[in-house]
Amino acid sequence: MKILKLRKSVLRVLVLDACVAGCTLLPGGVQAASHTPLSVTVTAADQKAAEGASATPIRLLAVKGPNGVAAQTTRFPAAVQNRSAGDAASSDPSFVQSGVRYTGDVTYLGGAVIAGAQQHVIYLLPNGSCPIATCWGDPEGFLADLSKSRFVHLADQYVGASGPDRYPVGQSSSLSFAAPRNFSSGSTPLTDADMQAAVHAVAKASGQTGYGHIYHVLLPQGADVCTDTTYSNCYAPDSGAQWLFCGYHGSVDFTDIGHVVYAVEPYQDVSTPTVFTAKPGTCAVQPNTPNGTLVDSTDNLLSRLTFGTITDPDGSGWVNATDLVFFNTEISDECTFADAVLQNPATGNFEDVFFFVDVFRVASHRYGLLPIYDNAHHACTIGPSAE
């Protein structure tokens, strides 16, 4: 096993030992993943490829808390910048209604959707070590369940397909980086360019690119990531002013390997003491979900980003194109429910605000997840029917 430091120009990938001795059953019934990781060497060429790539604007999932508004409110300028007058939104006649309009209904803007794809997890390991179960739970197990579930068929209406298990889990990878990478330690956070370089390295090595493959980059606790080197728009629980999002998805066109679709999932089980402090809120789900806040918070974000990627990989798929307060949001954005238990009567302490999730079966396991917007039912639901 080689552990190589992350330097600005070089990324190297750590080869994890596979779960060869059999997989253990984690609390809550989530099975540990069994996979053979991909061995990849990242070079300066990967970094350069990221610099030379053209990327669609990334879609942020705002942090739960007052600061998150800055993330979610950038959507209007992005929509203005990236759409032409000829787009469907500009000629949408629904501005004149016939009695009833559902605020969350999304509109198809004509771009790509993903009817089927393999999902690939890339684990970023601080100094080469972060046991998956401890650091994230079982992301691949969740994604496998999601692909087999009825929940994922909520996407059928948007992608024009209905076959089973269309989003199976493919080859995973991991890479080491020199920790820490965050504000509070005085180091610099990772950036989206770093994420793209990592994705490039893995995708080039595997040859798996295009809309048939979705890469999920998972960051460990303590790793901050920002959209760019202004370091102003970040996942940064240790730096309140910059902490604007919980995760994001995007796509990029590399000159050598073409189009790659990816999502970035930072560590989700984070919360601040109270909404009444200066710090923002949380990315975590409510307490007492089936698998605990670490696993369900991670899987909740994976779920939201998967649905967002499937239905709007390039920013021109399914979005809300008419409602002002929901403008340019995706099917997962619109169902961001929160709860504010302001004061615990028993302790007198003010509790955290957290995502208020549904608890339901996804394939053969139960999870605590936010619902997804369902045009057919004009509501946030958990899919065509409960399992």
Binding site: A62, P66, G68, V69, A70, T73, F76, P77, A79, V80, R83, S84, A85, D87, A89, S90, D92, S94, F95, V96, Q97, S98, G99, V100, R101, Y102, T103, G104, F276, Q286, T289, T322, D323, L324, V325, F326, F327, E334, C335, T336, F337, A338, D339, A340, V341, L342, Q343, F356, V357, D358, V359, F360, G368, L370, P371, H378, A379, C380, T381, I382
Partner: protein
């Protein structure tokens, strides 16, 4: 006929004509009728200084500043929510998360009742701000009172029944009107100073005092400002209605409430000139852009005053507190739509639907209907 009502103000009453204008008010398209002329005095401004009002809830202007306006609104909604909970000294749970989980089907825009007052019956009073004392109502704004009169008699207003707990017909009739003269310009472009909400509160205090109506939740005062007049929400003059100054142009209108030490609780809305990019409806509506833009915004503020009158003071009633994406939105906010017929480089128009009373048809935005989980023009 002049009536002197004491040393603090002079009020010119044309009682006979006022009464006559009200008697013929059933004709919603009546030409300009007279009302009382009111002057704002130092006593009114002093009353504002001694009042508690909070921060009004504004209707954001569509365009490049809209996202910052939303940010501003959400942040203040959080602050109000937090302050109210801190001050109450009691546990307040917005939802039942601590006891369970989200339902399998959840409507993203359903409003939540958070305990504050609503307005089940009230009289509307129009206050027209006249530059140098002159601005014919029909020319400058259309017929807002005619619209309010028809709105009160419409099916559309019964969308509010579920929120206020009554279904009485015509429970929001039009009352007395007033005119207030001011010296223009009041905007950015001329190097003058925009109005502030404190100025508007002084106007409302003066008129409410002069009209002598009972205060509280039984009266709603609508202040109409003419074209070319700006207003800002904050002393720094950065959050404004200012079509002539893009960087500060955040809102089209707003509603609020104030507690004056002498006359008590007063509800008011402020409608700036709406036939401007970012506030207007699309061309082709039944009464033209000036009239329908004014009426649509007036309708928006009226519905929000009825269902959430004291949002400015943190005593919210029906508001969005569950969906983080639209946190702090009210019944009108959730139903604004945008339409880009001139491309994304130009400000969008607001979407509308139509309702009719007798042979009069209006184009206004819809309002959120919890019972139907959608934006509707019918209950």
């Amino acid at each position: 006929m002049k009536v002197f009502l004491g040393s603090n103000r002079r009020v010119e009453l044309m009682a006979l004509l006022v009464g006559l204008s009200q008697a013929i008010g059933v004709n919603a398209q009546a030409p300009d009728a007279t009302g009382i002329s009111v002057q704002v005095t130092a006593a009114d401004r002093a009353a504002v200084s001694n009042s508690t009002a909070g921060r009004p809830h504004y209707l954001s202007a569509k365009g490049s500043n809209e996202f910052r306006a939303r940010q501003d609104q959400i942040l203040h909604a959080w602050q109000d929510f937090s302050n109210a909970a801190s001050n109450s000294g009691a546990s307040r749970t917005v939802s039942s998360a601590s006891q369970g989980s989200l339902p399998h089907v959840t409507y993203p825009s359903d409003l939540v009742y958070t305990g504050g007052p609503t307005v089940d019956h009230a009289h509307h009073h129009a206050i027209y701000m006249l530059p140098n004392g002159v601005c014919p109502v029909q020319t400058c704004w259309g017929n807002p009172e005619g619209f309010l009169r028809d709105l009160s008699q419409s099916d559309f207003i019964h969308v509010t029944d579920q929120y206020v707990g009554t279904s009485d017909d015509d429970r929001y009739p039009v009352g007395k009107r007033a005119f207030v003269s001011f010296t223009p310009p009041r905007n950015f472009s001329k190097g003058s100073t925009p109005f502030t909400d404190a100025d508007i509160q002084a106007v409302v205090h003066a008129v409410a005092s002069a009209l002598g109506e009972s205060g509280g939740y039984g009266q709603i005062y609508h202040v109409f400002l003419p074209q070319g007049t700006d207003e800002c929400m904050n002393a720094g003059l950065t959050v404004c209605y200012s079509p002539d100054n893009g960087p500060t142009f955040f809102f089209c209108a707003y509603h609020g409430s104030a507690n004056f030490p002498d006359i008590g609780h007063v509800l008011y809305t402020v409608e700036l000139y709406e036939d401007v990019g970012g506030c207007d409806v699309a061309p082709g509506t039944p009464n033209g852009q000036l009239v329908d833009s004014t009426n649509s915004v007036l309708s928006h503020e009226t519905f929000e005053t009825i269902t959430d009158p004291d949002v400015a003071q943190g005593a919210t009633a029906w508001i969005q507190f569950l969906n983080w994406q639209i946190f702090g939105s009210e019944i009108g906010d959730e139903c604004q739509t945008v339409y880009f017929p001139n491309g994304f480089g130009a400000p969008p128009f607001g979407g509308t639907d139509t309702f009719s009373v007798e042979d009069r048809t209006y184009a206004v935005q819809t309002e959120y209907n919890n019972a139907r989980h959608s934006c509707t023009i019918q209950p």
